[in-house]
């Protein structure tokens, strides 16, 4: 949630020069970006790590990998050994299997909360930036209100609310439904759209008076067409960059949510494993903490690097600046 106003204000002065870039058709921007990305070896490694985690999550969700995480494989709290790389937990279940299975929660938390946040942030931001005036006022008022309540409280409150509708939700989604996880998805999604909204609004504000938009208007395009067909494609890169960063924020937030009691139950998650470690560490049981932290560290690191690389590739103005 870093305020990007500072950067935007600086860039304002340079905008006139860079307008020319925007007149080039969108397609070559993407090809350009991919070219740049390909050259960055570290970014490619990060991308493959992310994909690897995604595949593990998928395989696990389908039951092909670590489906037997709930099985008791050894004595309670066995230390790491060649047989169990990360030892066992309090029940004697394999920690390594729990970690692998926990990838599901991590990846889905990031994915689904983004699915919720993106439409909201994009739509509201675009509409606010484009139409301005009282529409803008209302939307700005709305997200100011939202962001002035401390994030944690908003998360907890939303989760409370969702749990209240547990029964109707279960009958809608079926008995396999995990309300804890669902609450996490919704709560994270509903609290992370504000950052995107602000950025989009800023960009759209800049774009709406640009020549290419006016040109489209002269050719008979109405508001909707101008917005959707011309402006939004030019801000999509922001969505992508923002999402890749939000993803890892979501993964880290799951740990805190777990601490606050909003945890996932019924399947392992890195957040619950780290929270279990609170009691375990004092008696020298470090392996569950180590395993979960390591797993999270690698994928979050990969997302961070990827996000940076995407920003460099997609927004050449900022190249080398982050």
């Amino acid at each position: 949630m870093i305020e990007q106003t500072a950067i935007k204000n600086r860039i304002k002065v340079n905008d006139m020069k860079n307008d020319s870039i925007k007149l080039i058709k969108n397609r070559s921007l993407w090809f350009d970006a991919w070219d740049r990305l390909k050259q960055d070896k570290i970014a490619l490694v990060s991308l493959s790590i992310v994909l690897f985690y995604a595949i593990v999550a998928l395989l696990s969700a389908m039951g092909l990998l670590a489906a037997d995480w709930n099985e008791i494989v050894g004595p309670s709290y066995a230390a790491p050994s060649s047989e169990h790389w990360f030892g066992t937990d309090f029940l004697g279940r394999s920690v390594s299997r729990k970690i692998i299975n926990g990838t599901q929660v991590a990846m889905s938390v990031g994915l689904i909360s983004s699915f919720i946040a993106i439409p909201i942030g994009l739509t509201l931001g675009a509409v606010a930036g484009y139409f301005g005036k009282w529409v803008d006022e209302i939307i700005v008022w709305f997200y100011t209100t939202f962001s002035s309540i401390p994030g944690i409280m908003l998360l907890m409150s939303i989760a409370f609310v969702i749990k209240k509708f547990q029964d109707s939700l279960t009958s809608f989604f079926g008995s396999d439904f995990d309300i804890g996880l669902f609450a996490v998805f919704i709560a994270l999604g509903l609290t992370s759209w504000v950052g995107l909204c602000r950025l989009i609004r800023g960009e759209v504000l800049k774009h709406k008076d640009r020549e290419y938009v006016q040109a489209a208007g002269a050719l008979g395009a109405g508001h909707f067409r101008k917005l959707v067909k011309h402006i939004i494609p030019n801000v999509t890169h922001i969505v992508i960059i923002n999402t890749s960063l939000q993803f890892q924020i979501a993964i880290k937030s799951e740990v805190i949510l777990s601490y606050l009691g909003l945890g996932v139950s019924g399947q392992p998650s890195w957040g619950t494993m780290i929270n279990d470690a609170k009691e375990e560490l004092a008696r020298g049981v470090y392996w569950q903490l180590l395993g979960a932290t390591l797993a999270m560290f690698v994928v979050v690191l990969a997302f961070n690097i990827l996000g940076d690389a995407l920003r460099d590739a997609l927004d050449p103005k900022l190249k080398g600046k982050s």
Partner: protein, 600 residues
Amino acid sequence: MNKFKLGLSLLLLVTFVSCTKKKNYEEKVLVRNVSAKVKGLDPVNAGDTYSSTEIARVYEGLLEYHYLKRPYQLQPNLAEAMPEVSEDGLTYTFKIKKGVKFHDNKCFPNGKGRELKAEDFIYSIKRMADTKNISTGWWLLDGKIVGLNAWSDKYKGKDANYSDSVEGLTAIDDHTLQFKLTQKYPQFLYSLAMVYTFAVPKEAVDMYGEEFLNNPVGTGPFMTETYRQTNKIVYEKNPNYRDVFYPSEGSEEDKKLGLLEPAGKKVPFVDKIIVNILTESSTSFLAFESGNLDFSEIPKDNFDQVVVPGKGLATDYAAKGIVLDISPDLDVTYMAFNTEDPLFKNNVKLRRAMSLAYDNAKNNELFYNNQGLEAQTIIPPGIGGYDPKFKSTYGQYDLAKAKALLAEAGYPDGKGLPEINYETLSKTSSRQAAEFFQKSMSDIGITIKVNTNTWPQLTHKTKKKTAQMFGMAWLGDYPDGENFLQLLYGPNASPGPNGSNYNNEEFNKEFDVAKNMQPGPKRAAIYSKLAQKVSDEVPLILGVHRTSYVLKHAWLKNYKFSTFNHGNSKFYDVDMDLKEKTIKSGILNKTVDKKTAKAD
């Protein structure tokens, strides 16, 4: 500029090093922790264990439990002697000790505490009945004292007039107090040992008004300044405390443990008590290990930190002089069926099947280190009604029988049975226990859905009867089987404590008769019978009677665990020299090789 910034950063780094406060060992200070915020120190709102322990340092009541004797025995505290009870069992007359003074406080003229009078108890008990106070202890006396309910109703929603007399509460003279009960109520005496009825001076309540809960003024062995909710409460010894002596009677076991050494000496022994509020168990654990706390009553869920699975206290603790005190507690854990739920209402076979499929011994091993006692009925050992020989038919682990019964219940192999919702707390230990239950049920084909809740959410669900099954524990309010059996008493259904909403006509009738009987073998026999009959009906899958775990350092003396820990801190002592020596030696922060700890 560059160098300046570098220098600054280095300076800051240096100040971080060696940042621990120097400790002072001159005063005799007892340091302990409490794991939840204390609700202020007003006896009338003392509900939870944490607050009542704090309140009992400052306030005192007519009766108390003998420190060492087990089973728990009442003895006079502010009363001269046990009361005279009339023949019909309805009138209790107490003589109050003379010369007992309240703490010096500015609410009294000249700031000097005045003498305790019988009227003070009448005042305190009226405060319980005052609806404005919404006392969590009102249930103890609700409907039990002549005229008190009328007084309470008269002033409902208004400012109560405390000069308006109540027939059942009379001060015959300044030091004679008389109670008149509406019915025979043998548990009445226990309520006089509970903090709700402790003596409170009217002057303090009048002066401090809403802030009274932060300005305690009592007769107790310790006093404290205005409580400011700062995660730390500091108590000082009461210089005007009357003569109270360490008990001279105890068991052989007590003698062996050295608990009778200070017999006859005047208490309290320590000059100061510091109570740290540490809500995170990991933090309080580290604080204890490093010697910052003299003892730590481990919340029942976290004891597995200290004990190596299957063994006793980890050897490294023994080397550091740390003692693990394991004592039986008056307690029972259970998983309740909401017997009003259509699934469970008329299907006792289903409930029995589930109980048979639950391996209580494994539960005891995993979560209580085999120190708990598998509960056969709802009554724990140590009180009348407990039968050590009884084994509940459906409380034993028998998968084959469970499967057979499940089929008889109409759900062979669990087919046709919808998912059952089990509510529990989101705490790690509760979650893990729930996962174990879930796994056990899956062995006979029953699917359990575990829902985690915060404590308020769980309370809400159980009180509103929306929980299908839930996990709970009950700690006795007083050492009488009635307090446990009432968990199954029909009229006590939610929002009362009977969370399973069990309602059996016969049980209710027999219970009504038994609860008014004086304690004795006849009553114990009836309690036993009732408890055992209910076991067969399985409105609850019983867990274990838990034990309490207290970790103490070698320098803490005279400590004995008590379920009713009100006011026992006056008996504790701290060997400051030993404490200083042990901490300075640095042995507390070392890890002894865990491998040697495995020695049996």
